[in-house]
Symmetry: C2
Subunit: 326 residues, 2 copies
C-alpha cells in the first residue's frame, strides 16, 4: 500500500481524501493543516496534524498531495515540502510554471525526491491533449474552450463590488464557435466569440442594481471582453440552484495530413465535470501513484504530466494494461 | 535531423511518407519494398530499395516505420527488423499484443534497439484514453464506439460472397446509445445497441440480390449481431461516393467521485478522421521520434503508448513545452 498524506484541507483536500480512500493500492495516513488540528472535521478517520509536524512524519509517508492555492501557498509549500516528501501539486498559474518547475526541481534533486507539479485538467489533461494533438497533427490549429462551469476567480471579482453580497459566475462556450471548430472550418475566434459569461448576483437591500450590472460588464480583464449576462437573485436561490462547482471544457486539434495537406482530421477531448475540485483530486491521486513509483525506481527531480509515461498512473501492472486496455 | 525509413508501401506507408516529409526534424532516407523497387511509384523522391537491402542500410537509418499488415506481416517483420533498427509498428490484433510485445522485446534487448508497437488510434490513442480514464476515475465504466467509418475487414468479407463484385461497409455508432453515455446514465449496451452496419454493394449482372443480402446480414461474427442495411449500387457510384477511408470514434469514461460516489463526471475523447491510414501514419511518425530519442538515451526494449512519456513525441524541448502548452 502506498502511504499518502494530504497538506491542506479545502475542497481539493477533501477530494483527495475521498479519492485515496477509494484507491485499491493506497492508504491515507495523515492530513496536515495550518489551522488548529482540533478544529478540522474530516470525512474519514484520517489523523490530523499541524503542518509543523510534517517533518516528523517524513518516513511514514510515501507521497504527499499538496492542496493549497496557486497564488500564495504552492510557490512556497511545494519546494519546502519536497525537501522531505515525494510531492504532487495542482499549481495552475500557467505563466509561472517554468519558475515553479525550476524551484521544485532544484529541491528534489537535492532531497532525492520526485515532485509532480501542475496536475489537474488545465494544466493537466488538457495540456496533454494539446501536446499530443500537435505531435500527431503538426499542421493545424489548437482550440481550448472552458465550461459550462463556475469560475471562482470571476465570482470573487463580482463579490468585491459595492452592494454585492454573493455571486456565482459561469463561463459558457459559444455553441456556434464549437460547431465551426467541429466542422473543420479552422475559424479565427476572438475572446468574445469563444465564451460568454453568466452571473448570478445577490445584491444588498437598496443597492443600485444598474450600477452593479454596469460595474460587472465593464470590468477590465474579467468581463469587458465578453458578452456578459447578469441576473439578480436572492441568497436562497443562489444557495439552492448554484451551490455546485461544475466545470469542464474541450480541447480540439483540427489538422490536416497528406502531401498537399488536403485531408482533414478533428481530435476532440471533452470533460463534463459535476465537481471541479473532486475531479482535479482524482488526477492528483493518480499522479501521486506515479510519483511514488518513479521515486522507488531511484528517480528524483520535478516532473509534469508531459514527463510521465501513462502506465505509472494506473494501479495495474504494465503486463495487465497491455493485455486488457491496449 | 532524424533519418527515417519506411518498410512497406500501401496506404499506411504513403501516409508516413507524407508525415515525415512535413516533419520539421525528420528526413525520409529510404523506402523498402518486397515488390520490384522499379515498379514502386512514390509521391516524393525517396529512394526505393528491395527489402533484402535493409541490412546494408542499418547505419544510415535512425528509425524504421514498418507499414505491413497485422495478420501476416508484422508478427515476423517487426522482430526481424528490430535486430537492425529502432522500429515502430501499428500491430492491431488486440488479443495477440502480449505475444508480439514479448517477441519484439527479446530481440530489442539483444540488439540494443527500441521497438514501439501497436501505435495508431485503436490500439493507440484510444488505449491511452482508456488507461487514463480508469486511473483518474477508478469507479466507473468505459465505452468505446467506432465510426462513422469504413471497416476494411467487413468490406472484404462482403466481397467474398458469390455474385459480389465490390463493396464498402460503414460502421456507425447508435446515436441514442451515445446520448445515454453522455448523460451519465451508464447504460449496459449489447453489440446491437452500440453500432449499426451499412453496406454498399456492387453485384454482378443477374446475381440474386436477395441471396446476397441474406448472406450479408446473417454472416456470423461480422454482421449477424448487428442491425445491417444493404444498398445495391453501381461500380460508378461506389467509386464516386465511397472512395474515401474515413473513420474515427469515441472513448468515454463515465465515473463518479466523492466519499459516497455521488458526483458524476464524463470524459469523452473523439476522433473524426477523413483518412484512417493518414491519421494512423501521423501517430506512427510522432512515436518514431520517441523511439529515436529513447534509444539515443541508451534505452532498449519494446515499448507501447503506455510506456512512453508524452514529451518524447513532440518536436519541441521539454522546456518549451512547459512554457507554451502546459
Amino acid at each position: 500500500m502506498i502511504r499518502v498524506g494530504i497538506a491542506g484541507y479545502g475542497n481539493l483536500g477533501r477530494g483527495v481524501e475521498s479519492a485515496v480512500t477509494h484507491a485499491q493500492d493506497m492508504e491515507l495516513v495523515a492530513l496536515f493543516t495550518r489551522r488548529n488540528p482540533e478544529n478540522v472535521k474530516t470525512m474519514t478517520d484520517v489523523p490530523v496534524y499541524s503542518m509543523d509536524k510534517a517533518a516528523e512524519m517524513a518516513d511514514k509517508i510515501d507521497v504527499l498531495v499538496i492542496c493549497g492555492g496557486s497564488a500564495n501557498d504552492l510557490p512556497k509549500q511545494t519546494p519546502e515540502l519536497a525537501k522531505l516528501f515525494n510531492v504532487v501539486d495542482s499549481f495552475d498559474t500557467h505563466a509561472k510554471i517554468p519558475e515553479h518547475f525550476a524551484n521544485v526541481d532544484t529541491v528534489c534533486k537535492q532531497s532525492g525526491k520526485i515532485g509532480v507539479i501542475s496536475v489537474g485538467w488545465d494544466p493537466g489533461l488538457f495540456s496533454l491533449n494539446r501536446l499530443m494533438g500537435q505531435a500527431v497533427l503538426p499542421n493545424g490549429n489548437d482550440y481550448t474552450f472552458w465550461g459550462k462551469g463556475v469560475s471562482q476567480g470571476h465570482s470573487d471579482a463580482i463579490r468585491r463590488i459595492d452592494g454585492v453580497l454573493d455571486a456565482r459566475q459561469y463561463t459558457i462556450p459559444v455553441e456556434s464557435a464549437l460547431e465551426k471548430v467541429r466542422n473543420g472550418e479552422n475559424p479565427t475566434l476572438s475572446t468574445r466569440e469563444k465564451h460568454t459569461r453568466e452571473c448570478f448576483v445577490v445584491a444588498a437591500e437598496g443597492a443600485d442594481l444598474k450600477a452593479i450590472e454596469e460595474a460587472i460588464v465593464t470590468m477590465p480583464n474579467y468581463f469587458a471582453d465578453y458578452d456578459t449576462t447578469v441576473h439578480f437573485i436572492s441568497q436562497e436561490e443562489l444557495d439552492r440552484d448554484h451551490k455546485g462547482i461544475p466545470h469542464g471544457g474541450m480541447v480540439f486539434r483540427s489538422g490536416t495530413t497528406g502531401l498537399d495537406n488536403g485531408t482533414k482530421h478533428i481530435i476532440e477531448y471533452k470533460l463534463n465535470l459535476e465537481s471541479n475540485p473532486e475531479f482535479t483530486a482524482g488526477v492528483l491521486t493518480a499522479y501521486a501513484r506515479a510519483a511514488y513509483r518513479l521515486n522507488k525506481e531511484g528517480q528524483s527531480g520535478c516532473r509534469t504530466i508531459f514527463d510521465i509515461a501513462p502506465a505509472y498512473i494506473h494501479p495495474e501492472t504494465p503486463d495487465v494494461l497491455r493485455a486488457k486496455l491496449l
